[in-house]
Amino acid sequence: MTWFSSPTDATRRLADVGYLTDDATATIGYLAGALGKPLLIEGPAGVGKTELAKAVTAACGADLVRLQCYEGLDEARALYEWNYKKQLLRIQAAASDDSTDIGNVWDDEIFTEEFLLTRPLLTAIRRTEPTVLLVDEVDKTDVEFEGLLLEILSDFQVTIPELGTIAAAARPFVVLTSNATRELSEALKRRCLYLHLDYPEADREREIITSKVPDLDQRLATQLVDVVARLRELELKKAPSIAESIDWARTLIALEIRDLDNDAITSTLGAVLKHASDAERAIRELRLRTR
């Protein structure tokens, strides 16, 4: 499976499905497919890390297998699990039926495909169709879980003691996202291509906003991008990201605000800034309060 034929092809096809990239992102996206290496994306919340995985899925006509990570996620919920209830029933059925030997049931029958519950990681490996595997917020997991990912990310195979090693039928396009709440291990990082997504440049952000919110007129979009850029220059607890800019654009449409003057900004600031102290600071620094 070739994912993209060149970086420009990646830019074009991602743009077709509504994800506007910059050159670096497109190049690395192309490489991740071409070299068959997992892609580790870091960056502030709301800059489109998860969206990139979804866009690759849509652009390549693949299916998305998603593993949402959380604290305490373990093998049984990420990789595979034996359906022990079903196994128990099978053993009991065999015991009541005198003709079969229980020893045989134990070995040959209950550890087969039939009793295997596949979880996202194994599912992604076994699929023959093009697959994008999204391991979302990998920094939320425990350090031990990273060890589990290593075999999958470097060799695209899973070892199940009772069944043997299952190798990937077709290499999935693996995307890992992280908010960098904790430092990932060197071993994991070494196996990945690394991409830091940051707030976009003004022009690209305007394009993104107008493509997501087509009703917004150009002048208002320019004003909005300008104000958001100025907000990012302030020292805020949470600088507004693209997701917030888009929310803000939608808010403006809903409230039918045609011009982003100081009053309009002050009254709708809640859409972009989520801390009270941030809002106060913005009002003071941008001199929004009408005198």
Binding site: L31, K37, T181, R182, E186, R190, L193, Y194, E235, R281
Partner: protein
């Protein structure tokens, strides 16, 4: 692809350049493994060497796995893969003062001097400044790039006596060009274009700073071209911001550190919470385990445990806020405060030669910048005569704020232990220490500087264990350990 002028120490060739580049990155503190180097080559094999920015993107994606290493990476990349060589193409009109191809001799130098006067007279400068002004006002990116290159070549050249001895100085170039003098006019132009006054000033300042940075980059590139990138890398590659010494930090670094502080504390808090959850399994909860075992026919397949009671300490921070170590103190205070939910109570005191309580300045949800400003404003309360006197500060603390200490308190003292040769007040410190559960002393100076001059590090270190804490990494590690 960049064209490399052959220099004797470095043979031309992409592979050598690649290997040298990796070695330089490692030297600058990035851990680049062999496998990552191979990935980079494989990646470059796919996309080709045609575009410099693509090459940069591929190298960054394969070699740099931490975002805070990116600045270091970019500096090293610019040295090993410069955007252009010499004055580049398109600047043919500009005569180079120092022709490398021609053997230099004395007669040549005279001619060069003549030449330079023509290139570099007051008229040329005025003409250059007017072009710069226009470009800055219009934020014309490519033109600014060209002007930076031209400016370094014309005004920053320091011709040497022979080949390889000439050099370039960004400092000299900026002194001649004086973009600061253009600031007012640029700001005026921006105001005319519809920006408000204050915004215009910030914009102007940031554009001039950006231009200065470009000139510095270009000077570095030219020096690297002549003396070899290794030479420049040793001098100019700075440690990443989290490893930068507090005491060596410049103004801009301090701003950047402050910006890092909030995300840093958030990250630390998450890590602490996670670690506490991992250790949460306390003694067996018998009742719940038996109840749960009913669904599996009385076999206790899963055990349940009581949560462990978290242990929280009271923290008292006592910091020296005299000039040299003030920033270190405020960073530590902010970090400790950001983690206040990990402690049952935090009290903060500042001192120079008198003690002043600053706990009130820290309120939940306060803006970091404001807090820092208030802190520095309150410094005056901590001084009577303004000369650091640890002995007096400890005595006063024991006298006035003994109520802050108790058997559950941990005491944190921040300072460089330089007491201006005055009485050390060791007795007072011993008394204070005896009243607390734990006590630590954080010293922002490098360990090799302890006990030099008026530093009483060992004397104090015998009473209270002293820890070296020079940068943000060490600081977060320490805070993590005491929690």
């Amino acid at each position: 692809m960049p064209r490399f002028r052959s220099r004797p120490p470095v043979p031309p060739g992409l592979l050598d350049r690649h290997l040298e580049f990796l070695a330089a990155l490692r030297k600058a503190g990035l851990s680049v493994s062999l496998a990552e180097g191979l990935d980079a080559v494989a990646g470059l094999g796919r996309v080709g060497w045609g575009e410099r920015e693509t090459v940069r993107a591929v190298y960054a994606a394969t070699l740099v796995k931490r975002h805070d290493h990116r600045t270091t990476f970019d500096t090293v990349f610019d040295l090993w893969f410069p955007a252009l060589v010499g004055d580049g193409v398109g600047d043919e009109g500009l005569d180079h003062p120092d022709h490398l191809d021609h053997g230099p001799d004395r007669i040549d130098l005279d001619q060069q001097a003549l030449h330079r006067r023509r290139q570099d007279g007051p008229e040329a400068l005025a003409e250059y400044q007017s072009r710069l002004e226009a470009a800055l006002a219009a934020a014309d990116d490519p033109e600014l790039g060209r002007l930076a290159v031209e400016g370094t070549a014309r005004f920053g050249a320091m011709p040497g006596r022979g080949e390889g001895m000439s050099s370039w100085s960004a400092h000299q170039a900026m002194n001649r060009i004086r973009p600061g003098e253009l600031a007012d006019r640029i700001a005026a132009a921006l105001v005319a274009a519809g920006e408000d006054t204050e915004r215009a000033e910030t914009l102007t300042a940031s554009r001039i700073a950006d231009f200065t940075r470009r000139v510095e980059d270009d000077a570095r590139r030219r020096i690297a071209e002549q003396k070899g990138p290794e030479h420049v890398a040793d001098v100019t590659v700075r440690p990443s911001i989290d490893r930068l010494d507090f005491l060596a930090a410049r103004r801009t670094d301090l701003d950047e550190m402050r910006r890092l502080l909030y995300p840093l504390s958030r990250r630390l808090a998450t890590r602490l919470a996670q670690e506490q959850h991992a250790r949460r399994r306390g003694p067996l909860d018998f009742r719940r385990t038996v109840r749960a075992s009913l669904s599996t026919g009385g076999v206790p397949l899963t055990t349940h445990h009581r949560p462990r009671r978290p242990h929280r300490t009271e923290l008292v921070v006592l910091c020296d806020v005299s000039g040299s170590v003030a920033h270190f103190a405020s960073f530590t205070l902010l970090l400790v405060h950001a983690l206040r939910e990990q402690f049952s109570k935090v009290r903060a005191f500042t001192f120079i030669d008198h003690v002043h309580e600053v706990t009130d300045h820290f309120r939940p949800g306060r803006d970091i910048v404001e807090t820092m400003e208030e802190l520095s404003a309150s410094t005056a309360h901590a001084a009577l005569w303004g000369r650091t006197n640890y002995g007096r500060a400890f005595t006063k603390f024991a006298e006035l704020h003994a109520d802050a200490l108790g058997p559950r308190t941990s005491l944190l003292i921040l300072g460089d232990a330089r007491s201006n040769w005055s009485d050390l007040g060791l007795d007072a410190l011993t008394t204070i220490k005896a009243q607390t559960r734990h006590a630590w002393w954080l010293n922002p100076e490098a360990r090799r500087n302890w006990d030099t001059g008026d530093s009483a590090a060992t004397a104090y270190g015998e009473v209270v264990p002293m820890v070296e804490c020079r940068n943000l990494t060490q600081l977060t590690d320490f805070v993590h350990d005491i929690v």
